[in-house]
């Protein structure tokens, strides 16, 4: 009676998330909403190029946000995530969380952990979020602070401890670079010590801020081999206690698979535009002007657009094309 598909998320690979195929479904199963591009940090590798003062000029207003959330709930989308930028700086953040949770959907918050005060954690627990995923790219202050410009390791780890004290399920996300990769094992140990139930990682993408900082970030293939060896070892070590999720697959391989098996996932940008998938520049709808049903129908068609296949083919010759992901193409 059942056929299983699915699994895997995390912010490192843009090809993240739900692998249930979209054909035949009446609506997406998962909406990943980047609620704002504003952020208190300016991370070296940020795929969204978020940072202080980086909110889009045309980000959705309160009425638009709740109109769209209403459509998502009416279409029974079972699972949403709020990310950014930093979602907790959005002026309607807690109202949005309250609305989604009160309508019965599961909600994950993806945050840099700098606003996880005891009061905010207690509020998230009270509202019933499914999990809070905190980015922790290092096991030490020196690596974390180098990556998370304007960030502070102890603030993030204190925030995670506050989540734990409040009883909010914790996930950790880790982006590898040449200067933190040696800490991957220690970072997984730290995640477990802090009370996480899941740890996500994968290859860091050449896009967004990472394009400018690539010379400070890029790992060699040899480093990736060691990185994935450690991940395999840690997966076994923590089996039954904490899940270690990672994509070993390269971006190109993942996109080729997606071309024929699109995930039941919509990526919503802060201005209501909808992307086919994070790792491609294609926009398949605009929630300010179109209904979710229209966009979902177009999502199916847009994956068949020859420009999508061409872009993926071109990536095999020029992996640097991922640097153009923010130059949106409407399909």
């Amino acid at each position: 009676m059942t056929g299983q598909a699915a699994i895997a998320a995390g912010k490192v690979l843009a090809s993240e998330s739900i692998r249930a195929e979209s054909a035949d479904l009446g609506a997406p199963l998962y909406v990943a909403w980047q609620v704002t591009n504003e952020c208190n940090l300016a991370c070296l590798h940020c795929i969204e190029e978020s940072g202080p003062g980086k909110a889009f000029k045309d980000e959705l207003g309160r009425e638009q946000v709740f109109d769209i959330l209403g459509q998502f709930m009416d279409q029974q989308i079972p699972y949403l995530s709020f990310s950014g930028g930093e979602p907790m700086v959005h002026p309607q953040f807690f109202d949005m969380v309250e609305y989604v949770c009160s309508r019965g959907a599961e909600l994950k918050i993806e945050t840099n952990g700098h606003f996880l005060t005891p009061e905010n954690c207690a509020r998230l627990k009270e509202l019933g979020v499914k999990a809070v995923q905190v980015s922790l790219d290092g096991a030490t202050r020196s690596t974390f602070n180098r990556m998370r410009v304007r960030g502070e390791f102890s603030t993030a780890t204190d925030g995670i401890r506050n989540l734990r004290a409040a009883g909010v399920p914790i996930e950790i996300n880790y982006s590898p670079t040449c200067f933190n990769v040696h800490e991957i094992g220690a970072a997984i140990d730290l995640a477990h010590e802090l009370g996480a139930y899941s740890f996500y990682t994968g290859r860091t993408m050449y896009t967004g801020n990472a394009v400018k900082a690539w010379h400070k970030l890029a790992l060699t293939e040899e480093q990736y081999v060691e990185f994935f060896d450690t991940l395999h070892r840690k997966t076994e070590e923590y089996r039954g206690r904490m899940r270690v999720h990672f994509h070993e697959m390269g971006l190109l391989e993942e996109l080729r698979y997606r071309l024929h098996h699109p995930a039941a996932l919509l990526i919503v940008l802060p201005n209501g535009l909808v992307k086919l998938i994070n790792a491609l520049p294609f926009i398949c709808g605009d929630l300010r002007r179109q209904s979710l049903a229209e966009i979902w129908a177009n999502f199916q068609r847009a994956w068949q657009d020859p420009r999508v296949a061409q872009f993926i083919d071109d990536l095999s010759d020029d992996p640097g094309k991922t640097s153009t992901l923010h130059q949106w193409v409407y399909v």
Partner: protein, 83 residues
């Protein structure tokens, strides 16, 4: 019996989907499996669920009962339902 805390169900034209949002696994369901989940959502126990489905599908050869019980056992084993 009820669906576990992090499990969501949605009706689809082909039956339905069960989404275990903690592990992020999705299970596609045929029409009978979707009917099983609908009954679970009423809060009934397994025997009552089977009785209702046998009546609804006029289960002459016992196949509905076998399939339903096997499906419920499968869901229990996967942690998708709680008693």
């Amino acid at each position: 019996m009820r669906l576990s805390k992090y499990v969501k169900f949605r009706e689809e034209k082909f039956g339905g989907v069960l989404f275990e949002t903690r592990s992020e696994k999705v299970f596609t369901l045929n029409a009978v499996a979707a009917a099983v989940v609908r009954e679970i959502n009423t809060g009934c126990d397994e025997d009552e669920l089977v009785k209702r489905l046998k009546e609804r599908y006029q289960d002459r050869d016992g196949s509905i009962e076998r399939e339903s019980r096997a499906f419920v056992a499968d869901m229990r084993q996967k942690g998708l339902v709680q008693d």
